[in-house]
């Protein structure tokens, strides 16, 4: 098992290397003159040259790359073009709301989607199953921001049960914090829930056809014991995989959800940086988000070894 884990860990390196090369060369090979575009429409030549110097575009590519990589490996993501603050500090300041939102969504989605997937498989081809599958199809079609506004319209504007937008830090009390995350996590989680519910259903259906399930039923075990202990446990590998892969959806969705609900997290930082064309921030965020995604996939890969001892690559 150690060999497997070590191999997985090393497999992360080329992926992150490609990500780093990608963001580096995107700036160098972007069509037109990125420095001029970043500086703005009526920037003077001096202003454009200043941006160019700041981005390091005035040096030979090899030298730029060496400096950039050296700093990156020391955890230095550069400085923002507009505020001159280090990108790492800007990211650290905005980390809490995004982490809270992502974890809340992960928790809410898994807690809702796995049970409905189990029920759908148990009641296969009955009404409950059709409702769940219908929800799954809708979940893949409804955009996060549209659902977000529908939720705000009903729960916040019409019925005034929950706040319209904003984020309450956890330091300000547990309930205001939780309350501010309910609608965002439902909106953000919709596609994710659809995905998890569907894979849970498929995986459960496959397991429920096995002989040992028939045996368990025949010897009179309670349905919930059969479903949860015998079936779900053996159906877990694909479900865990999809829970892990789906986090990518959440990371993409965070940018939009935070904008709708005015949550001051990494997503808002991204949007503000794009509108000001602050490339160092965008680049830093891509590296952080990609690293988070790769790290999660690594955790999933390692979890296989524990969930299914037969897996040895």
């Amino acid at each position: 098992m150690t060999a497997y884990i070590v191999r997985r860990v090393f497999a992360v390196l080329p992926v992150m290397a490609v990500v780093a090369l990608f963001v580096f060369f995107l700036l160098r090979f972007a069509p037109g003159d990125p420095a001029a575009i970043i500086a703005g429409e009526d920037a003077t030549n001096e202003a454009i040259e200043a941006v160019r110097a700041k981005l390091g575009l005035d040096r030979p590519v090899v030298e730029q790359f060496a400096i950039w990589l050296w700093r990156l490996l020391h955890g230095d993501l550069g400085v923002s073009i507009f505020s001159n603050l280090p990108v790492t500090r800007l990211i650290a300041q905005r980390l809490e709301p995004t982490a809270a939102l992502t974890l809340a969504t992960l928790f809410v989605s898994v807690a809702l989607a796995v049970p409905i997937g189990v029920v759908a498989a148990w009641k296969a081809r009955k009404l409950a199953d059709r409702l769940v599958m219908g929800f799954a199809v809708m979940g893949f079609a409804v955009p996060t921001f549209v659902l977000a506004y529908v939720l705000i319209y009903f729960f916040a504007v019409r019925w005034q049960m929950l706040p319209v937008q904003g984020y309450q830090p956890i330091a300000g009390g547990l309930w205001p914090f939780a309350e501010s995350l309910i609608l965002p996590s439902l909106a953000l989680g919709i596609t994710y829930m659809a995905l998890i519910a569907r894979i849970t259903r498929t995986s459960m259906l496959e397991v429920l056809q096995q002989d040992y399930i028939r045996t368990a039923n025949a010897k009179g075990l309670a349905t919930d014991r059969v479903l949860l202990l015998h079936a779900l446990k053996n159906a877990a590998v694909p479900i865990v995989t999809v829970i892990g892969i789906g986090v990518a959806l959440l990371i993409s969705g965070v940018v939009i959800t935070e904008t709708v609900f005015n949550i001051p997290g990494l997503g808002r930082l991204t949007v503000d940086a794009v509108l000001k064309r602050d490339y160092p921030i965008v680049q830093g965020l891509i590296l952080v988000f990609a690293a988070a995604k790769v790290f999660l996939n690594l955790l999933i890969d390692i979890s296989y070894a524990f969930l299914d001892p037969r897996i040895r690559y």
Partner: protein, 289 residues
Amino acid sequence: MVAVADDLPLPPRRFSLGTAIRRNPTVAFGATLLVILVALAVFGPLFVGDPLKIAPVNRLRPPSERWWFGTDQFGRDVFTRTIYGSRVSLIVGLSVAAFSSILGLTLGLACGYFRALDGFVMRIMDGVMAIPSILLAIALITLTRPGLGIVIVAIVIPEVPRVVRVVRAVVLSIRSQPYIESAIAGGTRNTKLLWRHVLPNTLAPLIVQSTYVCASAMLIEAGLSFLGAGVPPEVPSWGNIIAQGRTFFQIAPWSILIPGAFLATTVLAVNLLGDGLRDRLDPRLARRL
């Protein structure tokens, strides 16, 4: 089913629309919805007014007989704008699907068939896939001037690896088939082998995957426009209409909810078409999901 060779005798079958619909209700439903939406996008703008016409007197009017979908804060007709918006969504969806399929097919065939290329290209694909697609698109857009073309390019890049993976997997499984080995042994040239024997097998999964790419492209485009990083704000795309409706959402929710419903319906139609085609063309995949 894809005809692999044209000299295979096929039983003569008369096409009957009724049977086709009964056999594939989801394809029929998705296709019908799409035909309606495409017709609206192509012909709709001929019958509605100017989507950019500002009429401050009529601002924020609720849906009524005169303004079917109400008006926004500048008095622009939301119905007219929504009809025009369908053009942007469909153009983006179809072009991204087309370009990613062509690129993905080429790379996928190359990777699956020429093993020397495989490691290198697939590592790049893994890296691109590690970047959340909307962020990748955003990064490219930060560095260029806004426009429809750049939005399409920015969405194609993150979508290509998804196509490559599908095509490559098919090629790998086909490559070890006896008929390919015998073709190689018989001295068939690589180009002919790929074109005649490998390529046709990839088409069914490719078509299915390209419908999902199309749906995802429309969602990403709307998301980018919504964030202000998509097509220029004066273009009435669904994402832009929704973005501009944000300020007055509490008084005029229609300018967000109606284009949003159109977007969701279009994506739903494309997805249903994809699901139906998958069940029909790729039974192996259908059973897994």
